[in-house]
């Protein structure tokens, strides 16, 4: 079952602009991950943020987590055409438990 909701469902921006995607979830979590999927292929892990963390950075990626609002955001700065993909958030309790995915955001970066 999916408990996450991403918004927007689709986002189209120009190369060089920033892209922000939001994810909301319904139940308490220990961990939240963001994944990227190119053209229906496998998922690539982008970044993990734990429930006791509020912000993490990885290269051009910035993830925030607000457990009081049960929401997370993914910011991609200085976007490139190669960032064109679907982005999913997924919540779970531990590495031994399955992921619950949001509906995803389809990002198109136009060169």
């Amino acid at each position: 079952s999916q408990q996450g909701e991403e918004d927007p469902q689709a986002l189209s921006i120009q190369e060089g602009e920033n892209a922000t995607m939001n994810c909301s979830y319904k139940t308490s979590i220990n961990n939240l991950q963001w994944y990227r999927q190119n053209s229906g292929r496998g998922l690539v892990h982008l970044i993990l943020i734990r429930s006791n963390e509020r912000e993490k950075h990885s290269g051009r990626l910035r993830v925030t987590l607000d457990t009081s609002k049960k929401s997370s955001s993914l910011l991609i700065t200085a976007s490139r055409a190669a960032d064109t993909a679907s982005y999913f958030c997924a919540t779970y309790h531990s590495g031994n438990t399955p992921l619950v995915f949001g509906k995803g955001t389809r990002l198109s970066v136009i060169a």
Binding site: Y35, G40, G42, H45, R50, F88, G95, P98, L99, F101
Partner: protein, 114 residues
């Protein structure tokens, strides 16, 4: 990180037939998960496979339709039985382990049923 391979990467099958998808991991892992991604949709968990025990299926998925094997800590198979066009999806396996936070995915198997 874990390196995961899946076979086949894609297949086109006739309705009424069955397809077995293999998932191989380069290290021993506790849990393996099978997901389905229907066209244009997000991922939905089919079942959790723990080595040495029966797989645990999510609501809407049954063992007769999606039998799973987990013979050891590095390998699992998912069979899609008596296929219909509605089974056309990408099937992905992922792995997790006790004490590890990050879960990794295989490249997926793109199944088309005619």
């Amino acid at each position: 990180s874990a390196v995961i391979s899946q076979k086949p990467s894609r297949d086109i099958c006739q309705r009424g037939t069955s397809l077995t998808i293999q998932c191989q991991v380069d290290s021993q892992v506790t849990m393996m998960f099978w997901y389905r991604q229907q066209p244009g949709q997000s991922l939905t968990l089919i079942a959790t496979a723990n080595q040495g025990s029966e797989a645990t299926y999510e609501s809407g998925f049954v063992i007769d339709k999606f039998p799973i094997s987990r013979p050891n800590l590095t390998f699992s198979t998912l069979t899609v039985s008596n296929m219909s066009p509605e089974d056309s999806s990408i099937y992905l396996c992922s792995v997790g382990a006790a004490g590890a936070d990050t879960q990794y995915f295989g490249p997926g198997t793109r199944l088309t049923v005619l």
